[in-house]
Symmetry: C2
């Protein structure tokens, strides 16, 4: 077990305290798993209480024994029922009045209503923008974890040429890669923030499966093999001459990277090669543009313009109304972090932001052709964290 | 692809309409993935509008083309932005006033606030109790899916005697079983309703790993192998004479079953056998008690009394403050459905409820000893859906 370094965690809370002071939030109660882990280095059925001017307190319902052993950097207070929290906070010297900061982008209304009864004199305020902005910038420790996630993904894909054969189903390939990732240390669960954004490892798609639009806000969807979870690999068999895409998350110590690679058995139609060459050009353009201080919206417009100028706009990032509104998304403890590479994302790129760039074409009757890499913004531009060679691997026998 | 039968879906909505009428809810908007699938048979970035007196309408942002092909039983209306929904509803003849029914147990405050702006004249009301009560009773179709999930779990476990060897890690066993389940048709994603209730396939634990309490509301926790997701299989190696528990979810066509089985290499300490014999007695007692009309609380008390009378209360369902408050939980499209086998669950058992029964002992320095099965309540009592023989499989070489 490798816990997050204590100085990491204490530094994060100090920065949050500064933001809470600036926004005049008297008390923040943090509960969501990814946020709680970020600010404590542990997970519990519990809440981290943070006020601008007071040492934080970790309120834990369970597991109590285990939390004592884990020794997070914050004092622990145990409770049995949520109702006990105001008095516990009082005992520890917190002021239980004024604005109450909560993660209102993810907290269910039922929980917020319960808290309103427990803290009737406090007005609930959404602190998730503060948290998401803070988490958008990654530390050296966090980037190391993402490099590790990228490294096991690259290792898992070493098997791919052996796995891809005509007649093998997408599902068989997906299952084999999932198995390999698990053995290499993928934690399994990949966290997301957005309500109803569902995922599981990622998508292994071939030929026309690649153009099945998603029911979630992701460029590729895929059929899956059940109407109850209609995404990702289905029962379609791999065939000669079709684009095969392997779009997988990898997750080590909580940190997620996202990568898409292309494969083909024997050959690809010329139109798929054309699409792939444009993707390579878009990568070059992105690398030219993605520097600290640049607005994501400007990059988004420039890339889209390039695609339209070449006459490929109809096929980029989905088809018609099923097109997604982004070309990339942030990554970290969640797969849908800030920044977003959209037309109007409000913050400029900055050093140590980490995001996935995923230009993708959806070609009717052919399939999906695109790539995805996770990159860190540095003063010199993008440094890619995902490392698998960026080519269409054509498997010949 | 096997969609849910149309009559299933139409019958469910008709029943919901009756409940909405009874509760005087003018309009319900259903969005959460499990609920949306339950009432439509499809998944989409969209909302199902249901009113007591009007044909339902499925409002879809994406994927539009795919939804037209899937042909759900309800008329479709496409939108680009949430703001367009009130006018669309008007066009289709819905009354956009009075109480607005929403899934407030799962809907984030941010989404509810957005809806409040879009429907300023409507008061938001929680319809999740109606939905959860309805979903608590399973149809023959649903029970068939759960039997299929149980069957592949049983098949996956056929490999276990070969997998369990001294020196093999919990994680290696877990990864192999996950792989096998996937190839047999496990959909991967297992849905839960409770905020921050995290899971991934389940828990493979051995010896002292079994007594690591959970950070989620589950009896067993386990160490995992990272502080970022500290549950389930860790890097501990299997050893002779320790209880090994394999607690896995299986999920087919959306429907989840939950089963725990015990294994040992060569032998188990006498105290573990004693615990196991009590577990077997608790199963017999549960089978005697679990009939339609019986209060879950009465069963809960009777089983707890039995454990205390035998002097094992200190070890049952967790230790001290880390104990869980239930002996079982409902299953269906989510792993945490109604009914709950707790002291005060408000509804009596009824025919076609499906729940997991999971009596478990946590023995210091030995490990976890317990079983779990998914059963359906019938007029004659429990009918178990999970089918793996209920024994400690002792592997001798």
């Amino acid at each position: 077990m490798e816990p997050a370094p204590v100085t990491e965690v204490t530094g994060r809370v100090a920065a949050l305290q500064g933001e809470l002071a600036r926004k005049e939030v008297s008390l923040a109660l943090i509960r969501q798993a990814a946020d709680l882990y970020y600010y404590t280095g542990v997970l519990a059925d519990g809440w981290l209480a943070v006020s601008p001017s007071h040492s934080p307190l970790l309120l834990v319902r369970r597991p109590q024994r285990r939390l004592l052993e884990a020794a997070p950097p914050w004092p622990l207070a145990f409770y049995g029922d949520l109702k006990e929290i105001p008095e516990l906070l009082n005992t520890f010297g917190f002021a239980v009045q004024g604005p109450l900061g909560l993660e209102l982008d993810v907290m269910p209304v039922g929980v917020a209503r319960r808290l309103q009864k427990i803290f009737p004199q406090m007005s609930q305020q959404d602190i998730s923008p503060l948290i998401r902005q803070q988490r958008m910038l990654k530390s050296a420790y966090e980037i190391t974890q993402m490099r590790r996630a990228a490294a096991i993904l690259d290792q898992a894909l070493e098997d791919t040429p052996r796995l891809l054969k005509p007649g093998v189903t997408e599902m068989e390939v997906a299952a084999a890669l999932e198995y390999r990732l698990r053995l290499l240390g993928h934690q399994g669960l990949v966290r997301v923030r957005t309500w109803n954004l569902e995922l599981f490892y990622g998508h292994v798609l071939s030929g026309v499966s690649g153009v099945e639009a998603a029911y979630t806000d992701t460029p590729s969807g895929g059929p899956g093999f059940t109407a109850a979870f209609p995404q990702g690999a289905g029962l379609k068999k791999l065939a000669f001459g079709e684009p095969i895409s392997i779009d997988l998350f990898s997750c080590v110590n909580g940190y997620v990277v996202d990568q898409t690679r292309m494969y083909a058995l024997e050959s690809l139609p010329e139109r798929a090669w054309e699409a792939f060459r444009i993707i390579e050009d878009l990568y070059r353009l992105f690398e030219e543009l993605a520097h600290p201080g640049v607005q994501p919206g400007d990059i988004f417009q420039r890339l889209w313009q390039e695609v339209k100028d070449r006459g490929w706009g109809d096929y980029f990032m989905g088809r018609g109304a099923d097109r997604v509104s982004f070309l990339g998304h942030g990554l970290g403890l969640e797969a849908d972090e800030y920044p977003l590479l959209t037309a109007r994302f409000p913050y400029p790129l900055a050093t140590d932001m980490v995001l996935a760039f995923e230009p993708k074409f959806f070609l009717p009757e052919i399939g999906m052709v695109g790539l995805e890499d996770t990159g860190r913004i540095t003063p010199e531009g993008v440094e890619w964290l995902t490392t698998t060679p960026r080519e269409v691997m054509v498997i010949k026998r």
